[in-house]
Amino acid sequence: MSAGQISVPIVFRGPNGAAAGVGAQHSQCYASWYASCPGLKVLTPYSSEDARGLLKAAIRDPDPVVFLENELLYGESFPVSAEVLDSSFCLPIGKAKIEREGKDVTITAYSKMVGYALKAAEALAKEGISAEVINLRSIRPLDRSTINTSVRKTNRLVTVEEGFPQHGVGAEICTSVIEESFGYLDAPVERIAGADVPMPYAANLERMAVPQVEDIVRAAKRACHRSVPLAAAA
């Protein structure tokens, strides 16, 4: 509102999304809330590479950046390349990463769900479906171009997020693809998201309330439904 006179180079780091057994008030994913606001940048690291490269980018960025970390990922290890370990390593804000290339269906995910999407892609591969997994990395700016390019290639899309579905990240991605690549879609976009309920504590309900690998696999198969049986028959 100062027309550029005042800038706010600040990074807000914080755990985001569901941890384990922490109930309704400590499990919410705020990605879509923050990312709906012009003026903010919203990053969602998945791997060690992301965490290092994006946090450095966030700190160097002259704008306010919301940096959403998943508590459960703190305890997970990832292989890293020498490049990532190099002190000069940094990642660009606003660029998604294709974690796995594929040709039959695009799966978008961020934060912890990238790992699930990769596992789903593995399971799908065993059934002859080649899934492309996009790690969004940045929810705002959203890398519409990488997403649309991928969908134009695979013609099918599954969005995955841990947050509540309504007005969520998947909804925006779906709409972006409809706006830019409607003619390329061979099947309805499939949305996998947190259940539309406050996070329950009980372990069985909690599991139901967040996406599981099998949900992603099922949705991807649904998306591929029309073509896969044919392929399988061939």
Binding site: R191, P198, P200, Y201, A202, A203, L205, M208, V210, D215
Partner: protein
């Protein structure tokens, strides 16, 4: 009986140090606190056995606050607290089975296993939770007090919060309105001297929490002395009904770490903990009173403790039998009136429910 130490008052006359009690009341105090202590220690074990997950904030050390408060008020008065709520729930008439079932996420829990450690409630006895957002229960408590005043109930609300929470802005906002409208709200700061790993003096410029209401009167109470707590709460209730809000600072201590991931010994010395245990333990204080006044013999008290242990063990055994919630419970209790709308699971084409 005299309270251990005098009350320190801010902007009001302190109540008398002389507290009236009876042998049976003292025995009840002992029994209730021993049961709470046992319950919390059992919860600790269940957590370590991975039967309790996520957050679990234990109250051992602070039992005199929950027990003394109940002795000073009635179940028509309301209590609302933060996440360290197991013992408060028990004090309000909750059962051990409800506690352990909830902690293990079972159907017989007070919130059907869907709430977990931080979400205990007993509305019919005026217990409004169990709140995980630090400080948020205080404005809610003032809202309860508003309702009490509005409906001319002649009852009051005790809103409990910690020394860490004492610096939250919403307390000051709520207190101002409560004072302005003379609401029968008593803000109870359970000062256990740490907010997670942060000592009070690192979080507050003025850790004299009973004075932090500024224009609102306050009273500093030995929160390890169940009789002092009782006396203070009686006094506070009378005061609040006549004059509006009051702050009670309960000087207390938590033996356990903040939650289960906190060993509780990195930001304070083991000596500090054992010093409190030896010199100020609320249960031991009552034990001594019972012994010196010849109300009970050592053995009798040991039996009470054994009985507590048995009760706890039985409740745990029963809670372990309690089933997990039904999968269909994923969608219940989100709305009172679901309006027949559809709600969705993670894969909406696989799991969806019509809300009643």
């Amino acid at each position: 009986i005299e309270t251990s130490i005098p009350f320190t008052a801010h902007n009001c006359d302190p109540p008398s140090r002389a507290v009236t009690t009876s042998p049976s009341e003292l025995l009840t105090f002992f029994r209730d606190m021993a049961l709470m202590r046992r319950m919390e220690i059992a919860a600790d074990s269940l957590y370590k056995a991975k039967l309790i997950r996520g957050f679990c904030h234990l109250y051992d050390g602070q039992e005199a606050v929950a027990v003394g408060m109940e002795a000073g008020i009635t179940k028509r008065d309301c209590i609302i607290t933060a996440y360290r709520d197991h013992c408060t729930f028990l004090g309000r008439g909750g059962t051990l089975l409800q506690v352990f079932s909830e902690l293990m996420g079972r159907k017989d829990g007070c919130s059907k296993g869907k709430g977990g450690s931080m979400h205990f409630y007993k509305k019919e006895n005026g217990f409004y939770g169990g709140h995980g957002i630090v400080g948020a229960q205080v404005p809610l408590g003032c809202g309860l007090a508003f309702a009490q005043k509005y409906s001319k109930d002649e009852t009051v609300t005790f809103a409990l919060y910690g020394d860490g929470a004492a610096n939250q802005g919403q307390l000051f906002e709520a207190l101002n309105i409560a004072a302005l409208w003379d609401l029968p709200a008593i803000l109870v700061c359970e000062n256990n001297h740490y907010g997670m790993g942060t000592a009070e003096w690192r979080a507050a410029k003025s850790p004299a929490y009973y004075k932090r209401g500024d224009y609102v009167p306050g009273l500093k109470v030995d929160g390890m002395d169940v009789l002092a707590v009782k006396q203070a709460c009686k006094f506070a209730k009378e005061h609040a009904l006549k004059n509006g809000p009051l702050i009670l600072e309960m000087d207390t201590y938590r033996y356990h770490g903040h939650s289960m991931s906190d060993p509780g010994s990195t930001y304070r010395t083991r000596d500090e903990i054992s010093g409190v245990r030896q010199e100020r333990d609320p249960i031991e204080r009552v034990r001594k009173l019972l012994l010196t006044h010849d109300i009970a013999a050592e053995k009798e008290l040991k039996d009470i403790e054994k009985e507590a242990r048995k009760e706890v063990d039985e409740a745990i055994a029963k809670a372990k039998e309690s089933p997990m919630p039904d999968p269909s419970d994923l969608f219940t209790n989100v709305y009172v009136k679901g309006l027949g709308v559809e709600s969705f699971g993670a894969d909406r084409k696989e799991v969806r429910a019509t809300l009643p």
